[in-house]
Symmetry: none
Subunit: 143 residues, 2 copies
Amino acid sequence: MFIGEYKHSIDEKGRLSIPVRFRDDLISGCVVTRGLDHCLWVYTQKEWEKIAEKLSDLPITQKDARSFARLMLAGAMDTKLDKAGRVNLPGYLKEYAGINGKVVITGVYNRLEIWPEDAWEDFKKQMEANSDQIAENLAEIGF
Amino acid sequence: MFIGEYKHSIDEKGRLSIPVRFRDDLISGCVVTRGLDHCLWVYTQKEWEKIAEKLSDLPITQKDARSFARLMLAGAMDTKLDKAGRVNLPGYLKEYAGINGKVVITGVYNRLEIWPEDAWEDFKKQMEANSDQIAENLAEIGF
DNA sequence: GAAACAAGTGGGAAATAGTGGGAAAAAGTG
DNA sequence: CACTTTTTCCCACTATTTCCCACTTGTTTC
């Protein structure tokens, strides 16, 4: 299970080191994808295969489903950690998330999230400000 | 499984190099055809046979089915990669997709898609603008 | 407090991917 | 059959990526 929050930075060659705590599960391969809220999601190979299969089962004939599957599958990139535990993010994913220098890597149960540092700080602030409201909304969806 | 997004270009001789990640599965032959949304779809030989069979099972009496089958079957062209991993796209397919110079090649599970660069960027922009909406709709179709 | 270690970072060298172009082969045309 | 055009094969160049090694900082250990 991935939990925690880490501040790392991307070097000039585009490499991002994954926190040691997370490496064991990702060493055999991982997939980085476009996430919601303009951050990146990182899954283990196994978790990703479940998701990909679901996506591929969406009806190809329905435009919305086709488009979503296309965006998610095309947005994904499978990669490996180098010997120093780093991954190389493709340009289009960095663009999508607005990543260039400092990033925050968070563990969210079965995935990692990669945020630009400032976006993450904004998100946290907003969360803290509205936490009561959000909690109440959660009750409605059965938490 | 094909995933990812790659920016390549077509040279003066009409050759398009396929991303290395995709070559292994296509080395023994592939089929390029007209896809939906005015892009090109590329299948492995094996996948294509499944698709073609499905298409041939469509009711010949329904106009839409007939049209769709024509689009894909008549548009199809089987080809090989050259030693540098490139394919040669026939003129009518380039015309159909509006391809001339820069293209984007995406992996979408069991097929590749070939897009003109600008059309792909437009698609992404439009999708990202609606992604929250789409994500919620997907819940409805059981994702 | 010094040594030992671990985690994140940086950079040089080798390998690889994408691209371009000439020459040989094949196909189409009169 | 001769000629032109297109396709295929091969080799070369360049930018990027990958691999490997080393440095730095902060923490632990004796």
